[in-house]
Amino acid sequence: MPAIEENFDVCVVGAGHAGCEAALACARLGLETIIFTVSVDSIALMPCNPNVGGSSKGHLVREIDALGGEMGKNIDKTFIQSKMLNKSKGPAVHSLRAQADKAAYSMEMRKTLQNTEHLTIKQAEVSEIVTDDDNNITGVKTVTGALYNCKAAVLCTGTYLRARCLTGELVTHTGPNGLQAANHLTESLINHGIEMYRYKTGTPARVDKKSLDFSKMQEQFGDEKIVPFSFTTNPEDVQIDQESCWLTYTNEETHKIIRGNLDRSPMYSGVIEGTGPRYCPSIEDKVVKFADKKRHQIFIEPEGLNTTEMYVGGMSSSMPEDVQLAMYRTVPGMENVKIVRNAYAIEYDCINANQLYASLEFKKIHGLFSGGQFNGSSGYEEAACQGLVAGINAAMKIKEREPLILDRSEAYTGVLIDDLVTKESHEPYRMMTSRAEYRLLLRQDNADLRLSKKGHEIGLISDERYQWVCEKERLIKEEIERVNEVRIGANKEVQAFLEENNSIPLNTGVTLAELIRRPELDYDKLAVLDKNRPDLPEEVREQVNINIKYEGYITRQIKQVKHFKKLEKKKLPQNFDYSEIGSLRIESVQKLNKLQPLSIGQASRISGVSPADISVILVYLEQLKYTNPDLFYQLNGNEEEK
């Protein structure tokens, strides 16, 4: 008998951005939930960059919010600067990014956790998962020997598993920020047949604001009109006084110091074994790989209101302390810089996420879910959205309900998870807008319209909030119809207006919609010509404008989505031996057997499975009608339900 034995519905391991979302989702759905962390002071810690959002990551935060997650609300309460990126580009790539007050962000999230019913916070290192003979999860154990029985568990261990930090020759066996690493769980996972990877990432130094000369840098301001992340935040509440960031550059002198000391970088001396991300290269990587670049951008960003620490964005490094100091001091404005915390690289254990279903449940262990960097992703937002989905699906499993599976045409979250569980990856995965093939439909501005219904069905979005989304939908639809009907004649007033806006005068009358499509005009500008326009909220007007302006493109993508959905709906049998289908190539059989794709669509995205293989599987599925009618109707019955 263990010294302590307690019972919960759900155990969440890790209280970073994934763990917090997972635990909140489960507790809010009424399940008794316990969340473990190696340090209660590090809940929702931001050990790397001090911001939330950014290109495509802003989309993820909006989606988290539309599904009933916490990240958007939390950053709205604690940001110190905000910017909508890509405002001059199309609506699909507009992306919100906010600088966070890190300490406040962490504290606010901790408060939310503390104030949530059914949620217990526990400082302990989880060292084992416990399963029964049928591979169902039954509990987790901590290093102290305590046993926590549960019906489902969610692993969100971030970068803590067997973590190792490197600064030049100095290696410490700690997690980020000098926190305690979790050294035991990996072994338990391996014993349960889980395949582990070892990844690497890094962070730059934090420097003292007082030692910087901002007169040599360019000031970077936030937006004049701030847009909140959460659809529930009142925009008036976020119009705050903002902090600035600062832009400066490396130079030849910086690069010379780096080149001269490459042999002391653990990356290049071979000490680091883990695979690092290509999109987030250390400054030594940038200098080596892009040798022709004379300078690299450096963003100096505040870490919070109550600290003088500044984040040196763009200069992550694993160089020894003395090299760091020397190279940082070559950067204009940093000649006398004092480093508060050194830059370091960190190595950690994570899993090959191909072992998961799209619900983020392990194929091998029923009731065990995982999210975040543990799944081989990188970034707070990527972690949070997975944590939310894993948490929701742990709850759905316990409640014996259908899992939440978002497909590639519904959400960036869907793209991210599908990529993780389907494709081969050898580096930490970061979201990018170019990964979303239907990005015109997956905009940050319509995340609520896309996902609130699901959030409501799950039980994380209130009736009231959902009703407003339905009402908004109706208003948008009606206004689009109206705008397509309104005729604008070629009269004097109209011609004068067009001339004023550098737009070509009309030859004959047109619909209002046609004028909205002109690049120099938009829905709001045309209000003066639109005599019977109803008074609509800004969020409705924005949708009307986008849907009309880009109608041609949007229609094309909707058509592509229809085709895509057809293949997603063709379900495949599970735990199936693909060698039974005689004519498949061996390479395909191996990959299909390992991955057990849920649908023809997913199968077609596995690298190495050819269109011919897909044809063969389709024919085989049809044969089932004669050879195995039970299975055939089971698969096709599912299809009709969807």
Partner: protein, 458 residues
Amino acid sequence: MKTDTIAAIATAMSPSGIGIVRISGPESLEVIDKIYVSRKKDKKLSQCKTHTIHYGYIYDGEEMVDEVMVLIMKGPNSYTREDTIEIDCHGGVYVMKKILETVLKYGARPAEPGEFTKRAFLNGRIDLSQAESVIDVINSKNKYALSSSLSQLKGSIKDDIVKIREKLIHEIAFIESALDDPEHYSLDDYPEQLKTIVDGVLDNINRLLGSVDNGRILKEGVSTVIVGKPNAGKSSLLNTLVGEDRAIVTDVAGTTRDVLEEQINLDGITLNIIDTAGIRETDDVVEKIGVDKAKKYLQKADLVIYVIDSSTKLDDNDFEIIEDLKDQRAIILLNKSDLETETTVDVVKKYIDKPIISISAKHKEGITEIEDTIKDMFFKGDISFNDEIFITNARHKNALADSKESLELVLRSIADGMPEDFFSIDLMNAYESLGNIIGESVEDDLVNEIFSKFCMGK
């Protein structure tokens, strides 16, 4: 995105009385309405009863293509259980191609090998016993289609496409990098730059499209090489094959030839036969060039016909050829069966496992057997059907036309002042279409290009 209505030439690609172009899919009727004109110009076939046949003409816009009979079979009462149209036209290769091209232009896409049968099966038309063979067909044909489309693609054209794709992916990666890291990469003045690049690429694609029309992208037919030692009877074999009472397919325009080459047709299978110099060890410089060339052809051929003089014994030269043939599709002819035999079928069998036939080119004996063997190899899927080569060609053309369309959309978006992120969507479509030609999928090209060419991240 192309519709899911497919079309193909259903009859053999050879000169014959009648040819059939078949269309199947939800938009079959829509397609035929766009191109069919009745004599009185008053009929819409979509309005006509199913299982009726109609006389009239196929038009590509203003241009009349052929006089035809059109058969309408509305689903589910058709082979594929989809709306199906059969256009009976004149049987010339040119006419059939032209009609298929017209059908493709107005909304269908070229059928994959075996696709009609596959659809028939998937729509519940064929029973289980036939299903196995469907899988085999899909498998063998796809294997072939891929290898042939690559090997048949003339080197320079493949290079062109690879270069165009490199250009496109670079531009896409640049746009995407700028979207991903807008504070780092600026797109100011970029649309003008991109316009120049796309204009250039479009010129190239138009040139390639022109060359498809001339049939220069692919050489139709199966490249067949006759090899053997001097005086084995290669030339007389060729003369016998060509001299028979068969249609000689006219040469494809623009094909350059530097050796003696003839085209013959065996029940719809076109063979491009190349006669080569006799292979033997030689010190004669000029002869040596001929011999080297013959060996090169042997390695590249789809089918090798190896002629042995059965009245002499096998020597080192023969063994050398036999060695070269091991990995090739080949048939072996023991010529001069009318003379006394020194080398028998059994002797040759000991050295190589290929079909062996005794013939007399001079007395035209065994010729039918050669033909049957070749046909057999085709129908078993060992060698290509030549309509597949045509299909490949049509697919290439379609893919080029698709990429052209996408690039024109890019130009329009630039002219309309659309935001830059819209450019990359159509550029990507063009990139994918071109990838279909050289058999390369997209997978992670873009992400790799972004990370390797543009310095990203904080």
